[in-house]
């Protein structure tokens, strides 16, 4: 019962703050709402027994990525977003399509049935600790994707330098 109340609180705040984040004209406000959203998302992870993910969520998203966002907004010095006429005028069409997709998504989500937990149920995670469980999976079963991710990051760094370095030879 109590967990349901908490879930409802976190979920509704996430929905509220994310819609605020995309509707604010002031970019700074939008970013701050997003920050609030990330904190509540971390709360949700805690409820799923994923304390490591919750910590990562706060450190990386709320810490590092949001700071980057704020830097960009401040560097661009955007007080209000730029007023320009849109290429595609009738927003109502977009609204209808996206609400249609949302209705389908909700319908689909209602048909969820739990198929079983696999190797890592809540009990196993609790006994191995969450970090232990992630570490074991990451460095054994998921070693290949883990290494691939490092390559993706390398390309991102090289790409950032190529595009942003002030003067290339």
């Amino acid at each position: 019962m109590l967990s349901k109340v908490f879930f409802l609180y976190f979920a509704s705040v996430i929905v509220l703050t994310s819609s605020l984040a995309i509707t604010r004209r002031n970019a700074m406000h939008g970013v701050l709402y997003m920050l609030l959203m990330f904190f509540h998302l971390a709360g949700l992870y805690l409820f799923l027994n994923a304390e490591f993910l919750a910590a990562v969520q706060i450190i990386i998203y709320a810490g590092a990525i949001m700071v980057l966002f704020l830097f960009v907004v401040m560097l661009l010095n955007l007080r209000e977003d730029v007023q320009k006429s849109r290429f595609i005028r009738p927003w109502i069409i977009g609204f209808i399509i996206s609400s249609g997709v949302m209705v389908i998504a909700i319908k689909a989500a209602r048909s969820v049935e739990v198929v079983g937990t696999g190797r890592w149920g809540i009990k196993e995670i609790q006994s191995a600790t969450h970090i232990g469980a992630i570490g074991q999976e990451l460095y054994t079963h998921y070693l290949y994707p883990f290494e691939l991710a490092s390559l993706v990051l390398l390309v991102a760094i090289v790409g950032a330098i190529v595009l942003a370095k002030k003067r290339l030879k």
Binding site: S111, V112, H141, L151, V155
Partner: protein
């Protein structure tokens, strides 16, 4: 685990090492042409190692089989051709940065990872590796506003489509309990006929169609491609009009033909309107283009539509035909772009249709090659393009989709108009301006390879069809 255990992924490892070496070499190497040569050598080495790469690694996360080897062949030839056509072009555009070749190589590794993925997570990471490299390559001409626009557009829409792919993956994981293709296939098989009644699963299938449709630029997810193709450096356009498209078809084979084959009635229903709309839109909009890169962009949309027709049969023949189509499409499309690059010189952009007026009088050889590629793209025998279309339509007829085959043939007649218009411009009009063409040896080699392959596949298709057929996963 020793190095010998890693033999199945030797081509990938060689290319990753090549990419890293290129990054380091850029520091000490003055002459950037050297980097291209190193890239060529590394790619040929990787190509050599494709043969004999068999087996799974990492709990079936990586699978090197004949199917993935077919696509790896395509990707590495694409890398080779793109490198060859880049050397002089980058010099002309004053964009000689060593990272270019490294990014080409990493993008290729990404595609190869997608083709040999055994797991949705690996597939996703391969896709990201490919896409990230190509976003950067699109914006490689940093002082060119169109190039920057192209990179931004591709990045924003690409990120959006990746998000859709992730959503699809999460829903598929949620409804089957696994990210492994074979396990998903088992789970779907267990559900039997009930699988088609699960909204969650169907929603995930629709999202997969969307995400893959974006990568292969199928209508209505094609909006980005003309702008991106036009703005990107021409050599990158050639690379990305083939690579990601072929990689998209590689994952269609993995997802649709393995993981969710149990739902093939459903995804065929989704793909039929998409492929027909793709063919019509691509061919009709190409008619009104005045820029040859934009025209080739719409043409590449149309070709994705033809190749999708092969997928619609949901059987081995059709998939073979689509794979074969990708192989042929690579040679004729990169060839056409190589001619476009040939016309690009210091003070001449050479990417407008009117630049081709009377080309046969000023540069008969360039015009002749362009004519062959245009004939092939139209699908006129004895070029390879004809063989590609022929097998697609045959597969469609064999699977009883007669109406679609007729529609495909009729729509491809439209394409003759804008391809042959280029030929008409070159041969039947008088030149407006006299311009030199690029005399790069590398470019000539790329052109020679493309034109020879277009003719050889057109005249002796047997071997190549057998190659594609032998590479099939489901027989």
């Amino acid at each position: 685990m020793t190095l010998a255990n890693l033999r199945p992924m030797a081509p990938e490892l060689i290319l990753i090492a090549l990419g890293l070496v290129l990054l380091m070499l850029d520091l000490i190497c003055r002459k950037k042409e050297m980097l291209a040569i190193v890239t060529l050598i590394g790619a040929i080495l990787a190509f050599y190692f494709i043969k004999g790469s068999h087996g799974g690694l990492f709990d079936g996360m990586f699978i090197a089989d004949l199917y993935s080897n077919f696509f790896k062949t395509v990707f590495i030839i694409n890398l080779l051709l793109s490198t060859l056509i880049s050397v002089k072009y980058l010099d002309t555009e004053r964009a000689l940065h060593g990272e270019y070749y490294a990014l080409l190589v990493f993008a290729t590794v990404g595609m190869m990872t997608m083709a040999s993925a055994g797991n949705l997570i690996v597939l996703y990471l391969g896709l990201e590796l490919m896409s990230l490299s190509i976003y950067v390559l699109c914006g490689f001409l940093r002082n060119n506003i169109k190039s920057t626009e192209s990179a931004i557009k591709y990045f924003l829409l690409g990120a959006f489509s990746t998000a859709i792919l992730l959503y699809a993956i999460s829903l598929l994981y949620g409804s089957t309990g696994s990210t492994d293709f074979n396990k998903i296939a088992n789970a779907v098989a267990v559900m039997g006929a009930g699988a088609a009644l699960k909204p969650l699963l169907l929603f995930s299938v629709a999202l997969f169609v969307t995400a893959v449709g974006f990568k292969i630029a199928a209508v209505p997810f094609h909006m980005w491609s003309p702008d991106v193709y036009e703005g990107a450096p021409t050599s990158v356009t050639a690379f990305m009009s083939v690579g990601p498209k072929a990689a998209g078809f590689a994952i269609i084979g993995k997802i649709f033909f393995v993981a969710i084959f149990g739902l093939h009635v459903e995804w065929v229903k989704l793909l039929i309107p998409i492929s027909v709309a793709t063919m019509i839109t691509g061919n009709v909009l190409a008619i009104s283009q005045t820029n040859i890169k934009r025209m080739l962009a719409y043409s590449s949309i149309a070709h994705a539509g033809y190749a999708l027709l092969g997928i619609l049969t949901a059987d081995g023949d059709g998939l073979t035909a689509a794979m074969n189509y990708m192989l042929i499409y690579m040679f004729m499309n990169v060839g056409a772009f190589a001619v476009v690059i040939m016309l690009r010189t210091e003070d001449f952009a050479g990417d407008e249709l009117k630049d081709y007026l009377g080309l046969a009088k000023t540069h008969p050889l360039a015009a002749f090659l362009m004519m062959i590629f245009m004939f092939s793209l139209t699908g006129i025998p004895p070029t390879a393009g004809f063989i590609g279309k022929f097998y697609i339509f045959t597969a469609l007829i064999h699977s009883g989709q007669l109406k679609l085959a007729v529609a495909g043939v009729l729509i491809s007649v439209i394409s003759a108009f804008f391809y042959l218009r280029v030929v008409m411009y070159m041969y039947m009009k008088d030149p407006e301006v006299e311009t030199p063409v690029s005399d790069s040896l590398y470019l000539k080699v790329a052109l020679a390879i493309s034109v020879v392959m277009v003719i050889v596949i057109g005249v002796f298709p047997g071997k190549f069809i057998e190659f594609a057929k032998a590479s099939l996963i489901l027989q």
